[in-house]
Symmetry: C2
Subunit: 385 residues, 2 copies
């Protein structure tokens, strides 16, 4: 149900021994053509991992394969890290018979330890042997890229004679900034060129991955790659293709939110009445990052005052006397004043929809976040991850 | 040891019944002159409480009294909240025989519930009766302004024939933005005018309260007031006065950090090598707000990669390849690469000093934060506060 669903893609996974848990930790995706259009988006963090720098450098509209390891981010490893990322690309390229600059490299895991390159090299050899276009191969790859993820994240869109497959990982250090965690999309749709892939991917990420904010922490390794090979021979309507990529990205994004570290509540924050959509997104993100608000959600506490206090710090235009808030559709604050029954709203369910109106314009956006729970603290304080 | 230490100031506290706990919840400070210079600084939150709006409106360099309640923030209460704040000022003014616009009003507590004005009125009458220049009166006032504070925060500076006294409160929703929680300073120094008070207070807050960031959440009610009456007849050297106000503010700030909600670690983040001091402060604040970093501190985990990932998102100039980090003086990352022994640094103590060099200039600043602990989650999810 993932990246091997579209025609002309093979995938593989293996246990190279990078993760201390002994779980599968390397994956490979190969595009068998006939076309090799690709689009990729990356973290906006100024501190980038070596694989991000390698893949960005070769992001010229064509990738034929993606090599991924989990358990080690290959970030903050200096020149040796850069050499290791290039070697991963070169060895994967040699193993599948393509040029090294046509290989995208991704790593995820702990920052600051050198990659165990002997294990990586053996892993790549094994991956090349394991390559298959079977659906289980995609499933295995989705499992191998997990770190503290509890479940795999995959999605499929079936068009008329063509399809999109996708897999992703990411549960913490997750506040993508115009890119995201690791997400890989494959499609056998026949596109006019890499620009079509880029256009669909960039518009989809802006309203899906970019709008997830689990902990305000943006990774050094975020990467999304879309590979398109035209193997179906079908050229979808452009609007349908853009919508399909958006749907798959949204599906993966919601799976990422649902498996976020320590999550007990899935919280959506929709800001309306902003001056612009961009300002709405900024305001929603400020609320979604506020620890007091997130703790209140964990406690199922309709403490709307924390929403007001949080949104008041957003660097956007608002009418402080006209701000209104609802929880799950029930008004709790109207024109910056408490609504009757506001303290009795039931937030005991797993999903909470928060709507905040800023009272100045037509801008709107939604950001998805989670509560701040004991489990989040436990997961992120108990060991280096 | 607080606001009644300088000559010519009286204080009082009482239990008006605003706090459900039944603890003291109202305080009054009266300046008996002969001078009435005052400076005040306020939250930069766009959503401001009614008492902040009232006090800002009358912030003309002269206050003769400060009336404070805890247990209810009188924020987001619309026009009724504004009327209640004005009534608090008017009743306090009548009780001590001054003009209502010479009274500063402060409230702190839950956002969004109307003040119980009958209790407030009785409380003000009681406060006027309790007024005293005894040191215990200042102690009582410091206790009455507490919310989830566990201990009072007071400070004193003794000059040559003059002094400064101070009290403050604040443990959560604490990321002051050019102002702070509630802090009150009194001095019997003879100043040239309110501008001297303002100059000393604004420079002190910029490097003390403004640099505390417990949870990234900025209150709707932050207020700092300095009252100066010249009762000592001594005009201190200007440089000494500025330094003394800074010392007292820093002392209160460190007491606020030490009593922060759920704190188990007091963490200072010093950024050096920034383009400017302002950029250093911005970068330090980004690290101090990062939940993954704060969880690592709770776990005594020297996970320096989270510092790199956090600082990489700061909107400031940096050389990503020249960033260095030390924990308690031990280098853990040099030129964006792990230092030998970095994973073995002992962070088990209650104080952690983090230093981050951005490698581009001479700008430097320190921000004080805390860890993110189970207690923080517990305190802020268990009930509306």
């Amino acid at each position: 149900m993932g990246v091997t669903v579209p025609q002309g893609f093979r995938a593989a996974s293996t246990t190279a021994g990078i993760k201390p848990s002994g779980n599968p930790d390397m994956a490979l995706i190969v595009n068998d053509g006939p076309e090799f259009h690709a689009a990729a988006m990356f973290t906006r963090n100024k501190v980038t991992a070596s694989p991000v720098r390698y893949t960005k450098q070769h992001n010229d509209g064509q990738f034929k394969a993606v090599i991924v390891n989990a358990g080690n981010a290959n970030a903050c490893n200096g020149a040796q890290g850069d050499r290791d990322a290039a070697q991963m690309a070169a060895e994967a390229a040699a193993a599948v018979g393509v040029d090294p600059h046509d290989v995208a490299v991704c790593s995820t895991g702990l920052i600051g330890d050198l990659l165990p390159m002997d294990k990586v090299s053996s892993g790549i050899a094994q991956l090349a042997e394991n390559l298959s276009d079977d659906v289980n191969a995609g499933e295995g790859a989705a499992e191998a890229i997990m770190t503290t993820d509890l479940v795999t994240k995959q999605s499929v869109y079936h068009g008329d004679g063509w399809s999109i497959g996708a897999m992703g990982k990411g549960v913490g250090m997750m506040a993508p900034s115009l890119a995201t965690m690791l997400v890989f999309l494959t499609t056998d749709a026949k596109l006019s060129g890499p620009n079509s892939a880029h256009k669909a991917l960039s518009s989809a990420t802006a309203t899906t991955f970019d709008c997830i904010d689990v902990d305000g922490s943006t990774s050094t390794n975020d990467t999304v790659v879309l590979l398109a090979n035209g193997a179906s021979g079908v050229t979808p309507d452009e609007e349908e293709f853009v919508a399909a990529v958006h749907q798959v990205c949204l599906d993966i994004a919601m799976q990422l939110q649902a498996d976020a570290e320590g999550v007990t509540k899935r919280v959506s924050i929709t800001v309306t009445g902003a001056a612009t959509d961009a300002e709405a997104k900024d305001a929603a993100r400020v609320v979604g990052r506020d620890n007091l608000f997130k703790c209140a959600m964990f406690g199922s506490d309709p403490n709307w005052g924390r929403v007001l206090a949080a949104v008041g710090m957003a660097p956007v235009e608002m009418d402080p006397n006209a701000i209104s808030v609802s929880f799950n559709g029930q008004p709790v604050c109207v024109n910056a004043t408490g609504a009757p029954g506001a303290r009795e709203v039931d937030l005991s369910g797993a999903d909470v929809a928060v709507e905040v109106d800023l009272g100045v314009g037509d801008g709107t956006a939604t950001v998805w976040t989670t509560d701040l729970s004991h489990s989040y603290v436990e997961i992120n304080s108990a060991y280096s991850s």
